[in-house]
Amino acid sequence: MKIKSQILVAISSLSILVAAHGQTQLKFWLPSSLGAPEKAAYQAAADEFSKKNPSIKANVEPMPGSETDVAKLMTAVRSGAGPDLAVIDRFTVAQRAAAGLLTDLTPLIKKEGKDLSQEYAEQPWQEVTYQGKVYALPTETDARVLFYNKKILRDAAIDLNEFDPARGPISPDRFKEIAFKLNQTDASGAYTRIGFVPWLEQGWGYTWGYAFGGNFFDFKNCKVTADDPGVVKGYQFLYDWAKSLDPQKTRTFVDTYWQWPSNGTLPDAQMPFYTGKVAFIVDGNWLFAIMKDVAPNLEYGVTYIPAPNGLKTSWSGGWSVVIPKGSKNAEAAYQLLRYLTGEEGQTLLIKQASSLPTLKSLQERKDLFPPEYQLFLDLLPISKSRPPVPVGALYWDQLKTAEEAVISNSQTPEAALKAVVDEVQPQMDRFCK
């Protein structure tokens, strides 16, 4: 019985080997923190590529981790069991390149003989280069805006025209007036709805720092500028908002309805914006694809992130494809990489995951985008990015810690942001020359 099954196993594995003979197998890792529509789009692109290139088979595998946590990738590459390709957050490319995790793509690009720097938009291109070499190619980009629930606003007799993008960003003061009208509490005084919680979802320190005209890095002097007056103002906005809401009560509200493991994602359908627990949310274009799935009847609109003096701001991130060190099929991997980051791959991402393209040629193709994308397309040219520095992950975590200190009102913005500089600058100094 046992021997029989062993023979069976041997035969079946042999037949797999025979079938795969002559075919290059590529291991392609997708981080688990990608949204479901994005995962599906990458999978579709990989399948499409395998179909068009019968000599290469792209095998998509999940990679546990998050935007900044690539432990699995690092240990796998270190032990020689790494993938041929992986999707990693673009703002960490500089850091992973500095660490020596990534294959330098420059020779492969040179061999192809195209000037790719001209094909991609400037900002994502900057993020994939480190010290003059290219370590990744960008797939999609994104932008952050303010989403609002039309029904809640209408029920509260709020003029929707105030949120018409044609009127520019609403001022933070006026916005606060409106948002606070929408708060609801139960008999015990606990919040059951909060108009707007500025630090949820994409309301990161970067969002508000940029909205208040801040600057996070001084490239000329190689200085971390978390204590820049604009950034401080942005954090002050968070501080005051939390104070007006009551930090403790807001935290309870958030932890009640945003119940997610910090390293995973909330089941999409429970996102409090869809369930009407909040009326506004700062979020990105990927929401279009998710809402189509889980909240098809939600009436929503998009507008600029509130900012003083009509300043139109947003910031963009996005993913990129890399070839980690140690790939035994770098040539084939590069072919797949070019497919994923080329017109076909990016078009699939636009259609399935409501992504924005990084290829200039696609950004100009108006026929690809439904009307609700207009605001995002308008924002792209002015949208900022996280500074692509080799301490990006640390900087991100520290800004998050400062944000927690500020929204719990346990530290002033000045003190919290100074602590960020004190923590990050010494690490940055190693890379300053």
Binding site: T68, D69, V70, A71, M74, T75, V77, R78, Q95, R96, A98, A99, G100, L101, A190, Q248, R251, T252, V254, D255, T256, Q259, W260, P261, S262, N263, K325, V391, A393, L394, D397, T401, E404, A405, S408, S410, A419, E423, P426, Q427, R430
Partner: protein, 300 residues
């Protein structure tokens, strides 16, 4: 006595060689998987190393940076806070479980299964479940507290409670040690209890003067193991809080992980691991030394 020790005769030498040969798998395993990594870790702690390429020797620079980093001290504070609460509480809960599993009733087998079951849950599943049970408004824990009119606690979101929440989660794994205590309980000769009963000893006196002293070797074992595990507490914080809120659950092991795998600072991570190793070894030695004052190995 010194100087009078017999020299090994040829037969003894051969026996020694055979003996060493027989335990050689263990010696090799111990050297390769424990001694070498520990030494290599101390070496890495003296280098600047991203995990790739060649480590660059920088002497004690990592330690200097660490001692200046407030987050490092926060992480040590959090870890000690956790150990001081979780280890003794773990002993109490495990003994409680063992006693409950040792009742002389017919259904005791069922009790054993029920009491042991939570310990079977993998820490990931348990942590995910705890996120729900600890929900500030709809969680089971707060619901039970509300019977006593205790106001809702934001377990994972309030820096004052978050460490306590993780101590609580750890107690769900007490079943493993509970089983060891159960074995120890059943090894206590029943005639001791019979004799005590004849003398008219109460249940409490029997527990205090027979059960507890005879459990001390197991308690020592539990404290030593618990200390090692407690100092390395990682998974619940990694899954439930990622070190937050306000770094209140930033345990040393999580700090090591972040440095090594998020910030590409394997050298710093190795330095912290070295410090943690020394702390653990020192405390274990102190506890072992103290054990001669409170552990009973023999019935006297």
């Amino acid at each position: 006595m010194a100087g009078t020790r017999k020299k090994l005769i040829r037969g003894d030498t051969r026996n020694l060689l055979y003996g060493l040969l027989f335990i050689s798998p263990w010696i090799i395993g111990f050297s390769v998987f424990l001694v070498y990594p520990v030494l290599s870790n101390f070496h890495l702690g003296m280098t600047q190393y991203s995990g790739f390429g060649a480590p660059e020797w920088i002497g004690f620079q990592n330690y200097v940076t660490l001692f200046k980093d407030p987050l490092f001290w926060t992480s040590l504070y959090n870890t000690f806070y956790y150990v001081i609460l979780a280890v003794p509480l773990g002993v109490v809960v495990a003994i409680g479980l063992a006693i409950a599993m040792n009742q002389k009733v017919r259904e005791v087998r069922w009790y054993r299964v029920i009491l042991y079951l939570p310990s079977v849950a993998p820490v990931f599943a348990l942590s995910m479940m705890m996120i729900w049970l600890l929900n500030p408004r709809f969680g089971l824990f707060n619901y039970i507290l509300s019977w006593a009119h205790i106001p809702a606690i934001n377990w994972l979101g309030d820096p004052h409670w978050s460490k306590l929440a993780i101590v609580l989660v750890a107690q769900f794994g007490a079943g493993h040690v509970g089983l060891i205590f159960l074995a120890a309980l059943r090894a206590i000769p029943p005639n001791l209890y019979d004799a005590a009963s004849l003398d008219g000893a109460s249940q409490w006196r029997k527990f205090r003067h027979i059960t507890l002293p005879l459990l001390t070797p197991t308690i020592l074992y539990d404290i030593i193991i618990g200390l090692g595990l407690g100092l390395q507490v990682f998974a619940p914080a990694y899954i439930m809080t990622q070190g937050g809120p306000l770094n209140s659950t930033m345990f040393t092991a999580l700090y090591i992980y972040k440095n090594a795998f998020e910030y590409n600072q394997v050298g710093v991570a190795a330095a912290v691991s070295g410090i943690l190793f020394i702390i653990n070894a020192t405390l274990a030695i102190v506890i072992f030394w103290s054990s001669k004052y409170w552990v009973n190995y023999h019935l006297e």
